[in-house]
């Protein structure tokens, strides 16, 4: 069959090569660029322009506001913790799902995707329902001096929930493609299960784990819906940067005229997110290239 195609192609070889180009001709490419330009690039430019059009004065203003520094610090710490915890447990979950047959495996795999489907705000509501001060579990924990809701642990739980699938889904395909022979060789040579994992499996998974963790980190930096109920938004204690930005802009949250300040902080967070996406992209493509080779 491939022969037939080759024969059919040969007489037109000049045109056949230009034909795919014809499909992705100027109008296709133009529409795609226009769409991305209008919907992605333009909004980005407006943020940069309004935030830094007058130099860094807006940023300085914004950072001088009550609770601003602590909001940024809290957001960074929480995002970092989220990335690390989900990198560990996400890798574990991926390993268990790919390598161990146990009853209900498919169900667990579906549940891991649940945070993709459930609205993040509903995730926050769920956590309040279970771990809130009025619930049985939350009350029991509070009696033992562990407050979850309206405290940093609640924020962490919410962020772990919404980013749970990211590491699992980035590690899983790499793990299932991984050649077993090296592991088997290591084991025949007497390496223990843990040593095999650390020396053979982990290095192969590293780019995928890092890419997933970076995605989780950037998602956690910006999360609003899951956090807004859970955190209680107490300045200098549980107020995160996205909620802080909302308060600067939204009339419903008592803010107005803070658009430029908000834009400055947003531009900063945004630049960080973009750099992280570029790195992730690089990691994943280099990974794919290696797999292709």
């Amino acid at each position: 069959m491939p022969n037939g195609i080759a024969l059919a192609r040969r007489p037109f070889s000049g045109r056949a090569r230009s034909r795919p180009g014809a499909l992705s001709s100027w109008w296709l490419r133009g529409t795609a660029f226009l769409y991305l330009g209008l919907f992605v690039v333009l909004p980005v430019i407006v943020i940069l322009d309004r935030g830094f059009g007058d130099g860094i004065s807006h940023l300085v203003d914004a950072l001088g506001a009550f609770g601003a520094w602590n909001a940024i610090k809290l957001t960074l710490i929480m995002a970092l913790l989220t990335a690390v915890v989900n990198a560990v447990f996400g890798t574990l979950l991926a390993y268990v799902l790919v390598r161990i047959r146990f009853p209900g495996r498919e169900l667990v795999s579906a549940i891991v995707d649940l945070p993709f489907a459930i609205p993040s705000l509903v995730a926050g509501v769920m956590l309040v329902a279970l771990y809130g001060p009025n619930s049985a579990v939350g009350g029991w924990l509070e009696d033992r001096g562990l407050q979850i809701i309206f405290a940093p642990p609640g924020i962490l739980l919410a962020l772990l929930f919404v980013t749970l699938p990211l590491v699992v889904r980035s590690v899983q395909p790499v793990l299932s493609e991984l050649d077993r022979e090296e592991e088997e060789a290591a084991q025949t040579l007497g390496a223990s299960g843990w040593v095999t994992f650390r020396r053979i499996v982990l290095p192969a998974l590293r780019p995928a784990i890092v890419a997933g963790a970076l995605l989780a980190f950037s998602r956690a930096l910006g999360e609003f819906g899951a956090i807004v109920f859970v955190s209680g938004n107490i300045p200098n204690h549980t107020l995160t940067a996205p909620v802080f930005i909302t308060q600067l802009i939204s009339p419903a949250y008592g803010g107005s005229g803070g658009k430029e300040k908000a834009a400055a902080v947003a531009a900063l967070l945004f630049a960080l997110a973009f750099v992280l996406v570029l790195i992730t992209e690089r990691l994943l493509t280099s990974d794919a290239d290696r797999a292709a080779r």
């Binding site: 943020i47 799902l97 649940l114 279970l130 579990v137 077993r180 996205p242 802009i249 419903a252 947003a266």
Partner: protein
């Protein structure tokens, strides 16, 4: 250590020479599975149980009363309208962008690809802010649309626009790898046999990518339904007019109507579980056809 070495050496003699997981003891395996299950239960399943409990605790009277409120019904209606428009736009243009990314060669492709993924990493709050800066007072486009008498901000158009921004990556991310894997042989065969570009697309390309397209669409509908941060900033929060289901939940809890909040939240959660079933189904189909 030595025990494991011994068991590994003994392995070939045993009736079942090598387990699927490379000779790990049954105990380790059970331990790994239970830690993973524990994590999933604490993080996902138990909270889901919590919300079901609270939504039904109030009794069916409150439930039916909640659903008979015009505010609530309008909120669901608005969420559905926004989702449908956003999914249609990102679906059609998503396939277009995917075709360009998978088939076309041009400089700066990895930059364009990063642009596509950008909405995944940008905070929804920043997305809302972008719309405010473009269409709000002193915004770039504000004079033009005011002159036309069209209200964008604090009305449906801006809510749709921010939802589109947020849903852009899903279809593209699913369709690009499929197109790359498929290659062009079938399409070239169709061209050589005289099919037009549109015919080739609808007869060959589209059927080949349909499961990936549906998978991406289901993911973006889930995202569109659940969006709150961006919509909050651009909606103006007019009850019964620009209030989506998620914004209703936000207001219900702020006004201490927790019961109603739990009930609407559970409804959204139930709908997302349905979407999840669709997502898993489409994913399986995609994986199967890719092989």
């Amino acid at each position: 250590m030595s025990a494991q070495v011994a068991s590994a050496r003994r392995a070939p003699v045993e009736p079942k020479p090598r387990r699927a997981d490379g000779g790990r003891s049954r105990l380790t395996r059970a331990l790994l599975v239970s830690v993973a299950l524990f994590y999933v239960v604490v993080l996902v399943l138990a909270p889901l149980g919590g919300i079901v409990y609270y939504a039904f605790k109030s009794g069916f009277g409150v439930i039916s009363q909640t659903f008979s409120q015009p505010d609530v019904m309008h909120a669901f209606y608005l969420t559905a309208v926004i989702m449908l428009i956003a999914v249609a736009v990102t679906g059609v243009f998503g396939v277009l962008v995917a075709l360009v990314l998978a088939r076309d060669r041009f400089r700066g492709k990895s930059f364009v690809s990063a642009l596509v993924n950008l909405p995944l990493a940008v905070s929804p709050v920043i997305v809302g802010l972008m719309a405010v800066l473009l269409f709000g007072a002193n915004g770039w486009f504000e004079p033009f649309f005011t002159a036309q008498g069209i209200q964008i901000l604090y009305a449906l158009p801006s809510m749709v626009l921010v939802t589109i921004f947020i849903s852009i990556p899903f279809v593209i991310r699913e369709v690009v790898p499929l197109l790359e894997e498929l290659g062009m042989e079938e399409e070239q065969a169709a061209w050589t046999l005289g099919a037009s570009q549109l015919q080739t697309f609808f007869r060959i390309t589209l059927p080949n990518i349909r499961w990936g397209l549906l998978y991406g669409t289901a993911l973006s509908s889930a995202r569109a339904i659940g969006e709150v941060g961006a919509v909050l900033l651009v909606s103006g929060l007019l009850q019964g007019q620009t209030e989506t289901a998620t914004l209703y939940i936000l207001r219900a809890f702020e006004q201490y109507q927790d019961q109603q909040g739990y009930i609407v939240a559970l409804t959204l959660a139930a709908f997302s579980v349905l979407l999840l079933v669709a997502i898993e189904f489409f994913k399986r189909k995609t994986v199967k056809e890719a092989r």
